[in-house]
């Protein structure tokens, strides 16, 4: 499976350097290494979800507890989490660090991913969620750190879009 192990490791290290201790996730192809690295890391609690919206509540609980967390999800999972994002994270000013695999964009071969790819950025903009792309290994750590910093200072959800260029080795 040509999911980039080296870049998954970079993202994992970036989260550790941000002191992220809890990571919630719903598996998808691009995230397999990242989820495994989280599970094998004794310094991180992995919470495997049934549906991505749960992650909003779990991360809010972690935030109240003073524990930094991150959410791993596909962009379709982001769509499934939107009510929680609006009616919990936005309503109560809860910082969320959302790492979203950006399926359905240029280069996508799976027809079923393509509609979600079309609406990901328009929805992020409509929701007023700041977002940035992770598209090259040189900037992974810096951008994740910046996203975490903005989430904490602005008390709001921030999205980092994991792109094909970073996650997939063809």
């Amino acid at each position: 499976m040509p999911v980039s192990l080296s870049n998954s490791k970079l993202i994992h290290e970036a989260l550790k350097e941000c002191d992220v201790r809890l990571v919630s996730a719903l598996p998808e192809t691009w995230l397999v290494h990242l989820i495994r690295l989280t599970e094998e890391d004794p310094g991180m609690q992995l919470v495997r979800l049934a549906k991505e919206e749960e992650a909003v509540g779990i991360s809010a609980g972690a935030y109240f507890a003073g524990v930094k967390s991150a959410m791993l999800m596909q962009n379709h999972g982001f769509l499934a989490a939107i009510n929680g994002i609006v009616s919990f994270a936005h309503l109560y000013k809860i910082p969320l660090l959302m790492l979203i695999s950006y399926r359905g964009s240029f280069g996508e071969r799976d027809p079923w991913q393509t509609q979600g790819g079309n609406v990901t950025e328009p929805l992020l903009r409509a929701l007023g969620i700041p977002y940035f792309f992770l598209d090259g290994e040189g900037t992974v750590k810096k951008r994740i750190r910046q996203a975490q910093t903005l989430a904490e200072s602005s008390l709001q959800p921030v999205a980092v879009l994991l792109t094909r260029d970073l996650m997939w080795e063809e």
């Binding site: 201790r21 809890l22 609690q45 919470v47 495997r48 979800l49 049934a50 549906k51 919206e53 749960e54 992650a55 909003v56 509540g57 779990i58 991360s59 809010a60 609980g61 972690a62 935030y63 109240f64 507890a65 003073g66 524990v67 967390s69 009510n83 929680g84 009616s87 919990f88 309503l91 109560y92 000013k93 809860i94």
Partner: protein, 190 residues
């Protein structure tokens, strides 16, 4: 059995717990008994009170976390039962007030009114201890037992579909949220 009487029966014990409620009647009734800084009322995001309790319980294993959920909210996030069961924090007590109704929007019947059994769903999801109670005395005993036994518990409390006349309190949502977090951070320092 009235939800307010259930809440009143355990109110004293809540002083040293972290409490998360759903919106509507549960929040308004607990608030009416006397707000405390360790109470967080999730005034929307239906379904996520249990997820919030799970996050708190996993991150604060030395604190007892009590979630006051409802049938309508839990039915919107049944997957939460499987996630709670998967990690089964021993310090989490999940109370579900089941009035078989979406009371705050006009009393529309939920699926528990036609036979859906939340205790059975919780047990089958893997919640290690799941019970249904129908009296205030058994409710109080079940909550006390759940706290003492240190095992993830779902308590389904069958209550009347009655609530307060209004749901808005004088506690602003953000005030509640900042106070709740500050309270938890103060526990760590003490």
């Amino acid at each position: 059995m009235l939800r307010l009487d259930c809440l009143r029966s355990v109110y004293a014990e809540l002083e040293h717990c972290l409490v998360v409620t759903i919106m509507g009647a549960v929040a308004a009734e607990l608030h009416s008994l006397g707000h405390r800084p360790n109470f967080f009322y999730l005034q929307h995001a239906m379904g996520l009170a249990s997820s919030t309790g799970l996050g708190l319980a996993l991150c604060l294993p030395d604190q007892t976390v009590i979630v006051f959920d409802g049938d309508g909210s839990l039915l919107m996030n049944l997957g939460s039962l499987s996630t709670m069961a998967r990690y089964r924090p021993a310090n989490l007590v999940h109370v579900v007030f089941d009035n078989e109704s979406l009371l705050s929007v006009g009393g529309f019947p939920t699926a528990t009114s036609t036979g859906t059994d939340l205790e059975g769903i919780a047990r089958s999801a893997g919640i290690p201890n799941a019970v249904t109670v129908r009296s205030v005395e058994s409710f109080k005993a079940a909550v006390g037992d759940a706290v003492d036994r240190k095992q993830l518990t779902t308590i389904v409390a069958k209550v009347e579909a009655q609530g307060p006349s209004g749901y808005v309190t004088d506690l602003a949502l953000l005030e509640n949220r900042f106070q709740f977090r500050r309270y938890i951070q103060s526990l760590k320092k003490s």
